[in-house]
Assembly symmetry: none
Homo-oligomer: 208 residues x 4
DNA sequence: AATGAATGAGCTTTCATTCAT
DNA sequence: TATGAATGAAAGCTCATTCAT
């Protein structure tokens, strides 16, 4: 019963309630998958009553859309914070962003399960697909720009920024899948080595 | 309505019927996701009557398990065929396997949707997770051995086979995700470049 | 359609709803038997909607168990009331209890149909058997004690209380079967004569 | 698998097949109750194929009717044989008939379960009720005649034959119920004592 | 006459949604 | 706003029955 992270069940503001329910939804999706997540369970996970979810989110579809948006926004904000806080060079920023994806708070089975749950429905639910696509595009744009700068900086002639971007973002997504599916054999250091290895190989002057 | 390519609705071997139903299930999962796939739809997709799926698969759970197994086995058999048919060197084989993952018949949104559907439920349905894990392990073992040979061949001292394996298998999985989520901007050539670029970078003597 | 005697369909205490549904179940069993009783029919007999029975009883099995318990408890409470209200002597009490079983409110085809429905499934459904057995034992214990007292009172030397108890309780059960199966020829007076005849024959000093 | 009590599965005569299936039905009813008895289970209990029951009995209703008839006829034939073989006096015959009902081959939980299964549905299925009623009437007629003779013989003035008949047949039915519901505490000797006790009490000159 | 795969009606159950309080 | 009982559509599953062989 994750009751009362919020001051009182009765006085929580509209927005706080929504947050509370989205958190509960995330927990449920992680535990039972999207198909197995019911409105009742979300409510009871939030320590609230049955009808509450429809009250605040109108419908289950809407709840799930908002949950996906929340998850994506949360990632985005960590992404932006990382971008700000990291060193000044594009190679510092790129490395920091790659590290972000492997940080325990991000690369954690419970969180990944939610991403994969939405990806798993993306073909069947165009809303999910479009939303994931849009966020991906933003991500790739940033990574792409960093790569371009590094390429220019280093004079890496034969290298195409878009290709490297695709390689890097694919690699981190794929490492997430390993973490989700093979938690026993998953090893964060190997994952980092894989990414670092790639960076070192394509941008030797920057990541040696 | 994909009405029976099988002689008559009243005649067909038990095994043929199972295959027919698994194919229908795959189509349904691709179209509607796992949660949205109903026994009735599978049956009507197969051009058969309502009760047929329970008759042949006992339960929906069982149907889904068998479908996952089928999809995994199909991939595995293509994998093995590729291994046989490709050139003799480990670098030939490795490249051929990477190409397999990007071949249109494999890297196709409809097929990928099925993989991601199961991965999306893997945390919630331990059976899926275990099965995916087991097949992944087999895959990684083969890739790992090829990498080891290449490393020995080329005297790549600083390189760890397991890390490269993880990088490669993650990259292809991640490329699949791009294909699924961003079909519009997905470009097979870029995907191939990403993989080739990585191979060239880590094993320069073999993939130049 | 026995539409709700309860204020509104949206208001009624949980317990009242359960009672209402158990009554509906009893009617259905009496009309259609246990096998023929469907959740929908129970709901519509209660003037409520389809899902209501599962809402309050979780499952059909549970509903039937609770119904049997209710029927048994109802009988038990009449039994105890009869025991209290009847004259002070054990022979008064015994006679009153026998009369209870033949009273129109008890010995009525619709009610008996329910008992026989459960007895008819008792071998197949151990829960029913155990429950019926337990209530029977309680019944026999009371009857047995009364017989013992009468035997002691009257100095009936050759008579065994347990045998008389078995004879009496069997006779009333058997008379119930006659009432159920041969309603046309069933005659309450003959049934009473049968019981009285037996009592008079075994305990002549008390029932002459 | 109760296969092949019949010469061959392929050559059994129509009538033998019906018998075989009725026996299987009886076993199923005893094990699973009428509601739980399925056509498939009957067939497989008989060691035959799925569609066989409809082939020989047209419908499940018909199968159950025929099964009830068979059970009733079997009892009737034992009843008549007992009537023939017993001593010449009406009191001999009456006693023999009462003993028949308590004989292990008759008063056996598995057999009784079938009787009670049909009685349990009798209110809901008029066919069962009518059939049971008809056989009961025949039974009561014979018992009634024997009682009349005994009454005339013994000059039992105050005694009504019909009442005694009702008492006796009810008592045996009720004893059956005890045997079904309380098999642990059921005691054949007590049951016999109950019946004998009654006979001795009403017809002292004959059963002392 | 026998088989057993196929059918489809009908059942139990679940659950998003509604609504009186 | 919040509650939680009620609703009813839709799902999975069972099984009597049919039918091609």
């Amino acid at each position: 019963m994750a009751v009362a992270e919020v001051k009182s069940n009765r006085t929580a503001s509209k927005e706080a309630r929504r947050q509370q329910l989205i958190q509960a939804t995330i927990k449920c999706i992680s535990k039972r998958g999207i198909g197995g997540t019911t409105m009742s369970e979300v409510a009871s996970e939030a320590g609230l009553s049955q009808g509450i979810v429809n009250l605040h989110f109108k419908s289950k579809d809407n709840l799930l859309n908002e949950t996906l948006r929340w998850v994506a926004e949360e990632y985005k904000s960590q992404f932006e914070k990382t971008l700000e806080k990291s060193g000044p060079g594009p190679e510092d920023k790129l490395l920091a962003l790659m590290e972000l994806d492997l940080r325990p708070s991000v690369c954690d089975r419970h969180k990944l399960a939610v991403w994969f749950a939405f990806w798993g429905e993306a073909k069947a639910v165009p809303t999910y697909q479009r939303m994931c696509d849009a966020y991906d595009r933003e991500y790739d744009e940033v990574i792409g720009r960093l790569c371009e700068q590094i390429i220019k900086d280093g004079g890496y002639q034969a290298i195409d920024a878009r290709t490297v971007t695709e390689a890097l973002s694919s690699m981190t997504d794929g490492l997430w899948l390993s973490c989700l599916i093979s938690p026993k054999s998953w090893d964060r250091q190997i994952a980092r080595d894989a990414v670092h290895g790639y960076l070192r190989a394509v941008f030797p002057k920057h990541f040696e």
